[in-house]
């Protein structure tokens, strides 16, 4: 039996809930917080005073353009986005991004490194990201507070300790990524899979707000899936759930990186998963198709057909309210939607797709980056006053 929560537990929980509201919704009036959190006005007032004293929020009179309002307007509570921040990173196969993200989910600073075709070893990743953090620290405000760091990586992540068993490139084997990055930047770095974090970001502040059964599909050389069911991430026993790219859709099909044949990502093909402006991308293919190139048209048709088939399987198994296409799949979906929809409508069960929405990532390519920031903010939002106020590292 657990003891009943103490006053202190309740207060901590309310502080976290209020800060999370402001973090997710942006500037919010006290009146709206009162209504939304089901607490009375004086409790909200006491909580905001405490959070303001800790430097996490500010309260200000609402900016009123119409004028002449009756009664005293409710104060607006705003996150201290410039002052309270995290470091968020993404590790793609051939692309690294580092950002300083303020409370409220505002990207304050960002750096990027691309290396098409070759990729990065864990050591190179740590060096590059460590260098970026050193640069970004210089432009952070002097009274700034760094409250965490998180990374989204294009590889499977063991749930228990954040180890990467293999990939993104061959020199990654049982990589203790969290430890390595923590050493490089001098603070704890939380690790998550890019699609798992992408779905969190789209659910928090993207296309899937208010939608608790979501599949986020992230294309980037490979295809990853992040799944929310009843608002909770589907992680699997060891944290590896969602490897939808290796769903076999064609047993005698094309060889896959993983050693199997006919995996979804192998059948959809490199066109769909290559980034940039080269001809070997979906954009290049779509342009050629628009000019009447029959091979390109056929290529588009095939890509859309395979995409629709995989989505149909996922929809039958998980009955999501929404499928979000992110990374390179955003453009692929928009350019081949007639095929995707047709295949989906022919293949999935009509009841499983009845309320299905197909959307592109509202956060674009940055969905995993925003998700990494959410991971990094989690500790602060769970316990704003105890964990939030460590001085900025370094």
């Amino acid at each position: 039996m657990r003891a009943a929560p103490t006053q202190e537990d309740i207060r901590r929980q309310n502080l976290g809930a209020l800060l999370r509201h402001v973090h997710v919704l942006g500037p919010t009036s006290r009146a709206r917080l009162t209504a939304g959190m089901g607490l009375n006005r004086s409790t909200i007032g006491a909580l905001t005073t405490e959070l303001a004293a800790a430097g996490l929020i500010v309260e200000e009179a609402p900016r009123d353009t119409s004028g002449g309002g009756r009664g005293r307007p409710s104060l607006v509570v705003r996150a201290q986005s410039q002052r309270v921040y995290v470091y968020a990173f993404t590790i793609g196969v051939d692309r690294l991004v580092a950002a300083r993200v303020g409370l409220g989910g505002v990207i304050l600073d960002r750096r990027e490194l691309q290396r098409p075709g070759s990729g990065f070893s864990p050591k190179e990743v740590a060096e590059a990201l460590g260098g970026f953090v050193a640069q970004m620290r210089l432009s952070a405000p002097h009274d700034g507070v760094c409250v965490g760091a998180g990374v989204a990586v294009c590889a499977m992540v063991r749930g228990s300790d954040g180890t990467i068993p293999e990939g993104p490139t061959q020199d990654w084997r049982n990589e203790p990524l969290g430890e390595r990055l923590s050493a490089a930047i001098g603070m704890v770095v939380m690790v998550g899979n890019d699609a798992d974090l992408g779905v969190v970001a789209e659910h928090t502040r993207g296309a899937a707000v208010g939608c608790d059964d979501v599949i986020y599909l992230h294309g980037d050389v490979c295809i990853g899936g992040g799944i929310l069911s009843a608002g909770r991430p589907v992680a699997g026993g060891d944290g590896y759930a969602g490897e939808v790219g290796h769903m076999v859709v064609n047993p005698d099909g094309r060889p896959c990186r993983c050693g199997a044949r006919g995996c979804w990502e192998a059948e959809i093909g490199e066109f769909a998963l290559t980034r940039g402006t080269a001809k070997h991308t979906i954009g290049g293919l779509a342009d050629a198709a628009a000019r009447g190139d029959h091979d390109a048209e056929e290529g588009m048709r095939r890509v859309g057909d395979w995409l629709g088939l995989g989505v149909a399987n996922l929809v039958n198994i998980l009955n999501p309210q929404m499928v979000v296409f992110g990374g390179t799949l955003r453009e692929v979906y928009l350019a081949t939607a007639a095929q995707v929809r047709s295949r989906l409508n022919r293949t999935s069960l009509s009841v499983t797709r009845e309320h299905l929405k197909l959307r592109t990532a509202a956060l674009g390519d940055d969905a995993p980056l925003y998700g990494a920031a959410e991971l990094a903010f989690a500790r602060l939002l769970d316990n704003p006053l105890e964990s939030g106020l460590a001085p900025a590292a370094g």
């Binding site: 999370r20 453009e331 095929q339 009509s350 959307r359 509202a362």
Partner: protein, 269 residues
């Protein structure tokens, strides 16, 4: 649990705009024949059909540029008369026509307020107009224009389309009709306009999208209405039909899946 920032619109029950049995002739040419169309809040209704099927004519009847010869026009369930663009916009119905009608020598803000400043009986100063324009573009998550004081002549095709759409939603419109917004655009600009179209509906508007590109249609549509030789061949859910069936409906007015004679009453959900 978190507050939901924008409550999702409830599933559409009754159409916000509905046309029944609309006819329109130009002299001896009978262009629209007993056309039906239903449009719902929070949904994108794609309007498709071959060249000359009557899509733009229908849109001009919705927007009050043409007056139908016969037929009924319902808004929020009540019969209304729409004899001028003014009547339409008083209801909250805005049309973005194929030719856009933007003024090249004016900037984005000026274009968004062009012809509208005094219509609703209040005059806005420059600062307020700038702020409203900015908020409207931000509300649509438009980040592609660098300055709202840029002249429209300096914008790309996709940006011009964006400005025209933003102008249409500026006045709390309820229904926005877009006549071929992606026709002249390349792949990546088309993608941005499609996402904007989807966002309008997800924000609660009823959107009608005309397009000849079936990828555009299937990418964003909740429902698809097909015109064939001036008649409503079908109104179907996008989750219940395939590309080839739509192509059949466009080219022959019927599709096997719905049986022969699936005319205006054949598929209507």
């Amino acid at each position: 649990m978190a507050l939901s920032p924008t409550p999702a619109p409830p599933p559409a029950s009754n159409p916000v705009l509905e046309l029944r049995g609309v006819n329109k002739s130009f002299g001896a040419v009978h262009v629209l024949r007993d056309v039906d169309l239903s449009v719902y809040e929070g949904q994108v209704t794609a309007l498709v059909g071959d060249n000359g099927a009557g899509k733009s004519t229908l849109v001009k009847c919705i927007g009050g540029i043409h007056t139908a010869d016969s037929g009924e026009y319902f808004f929020d369930g009540a019969p209304v008369t729409v004899h001028s663009p003014r009547d339409a916009s008083d209801l909250g119905v805005e049309i973005v026509y194929q030719d856009l009608a933007l003024c090249d020598n004016l900037d984005i803000v000026q274009n968004m307020f062009l012809g509208r400043e005094r219509r609703r009986g209040w005059v806005l100063d420059e600062d307020s107009m700038e702020q409203i324009a900015e908020e409207t573009l931000a509300g649509l998550s438009v980040r592609t224009v660098s300055s709202i004081r840029q002249r429209v002549s300096s914008l790309s095709g996709g940006q011009r389309q964006t400005v025209a759409i933003a102008k249409a939603v500026l006045w709390n419109s309820k229904v926005v009709v877009l006549d071929e917004p992606t026709a002249a655009l390349g792949v990546s600009q088309t993608a941005q306009v499609l996402e904007l179209v989807r966002r309008l509906a997800d924000n609660g508007l009823a959107v009608v999208l005309i397009s000849h590109n079936m990828n555009d249609v299937f990418a964003v549509a909740d429902r698809i209405a097909v015109l064939y030789l001036g008649r409503t061949a079908a109104q179907v859910n996008a989750g219940e039909i395939t590309h080839s069936q739509i192509v059949e409906l466009i080219t022959s007015g019927q599709t096997e899946a719905f049986g022969p004679g699936a005319g205006r009453n054949g598929v209507n959900r």
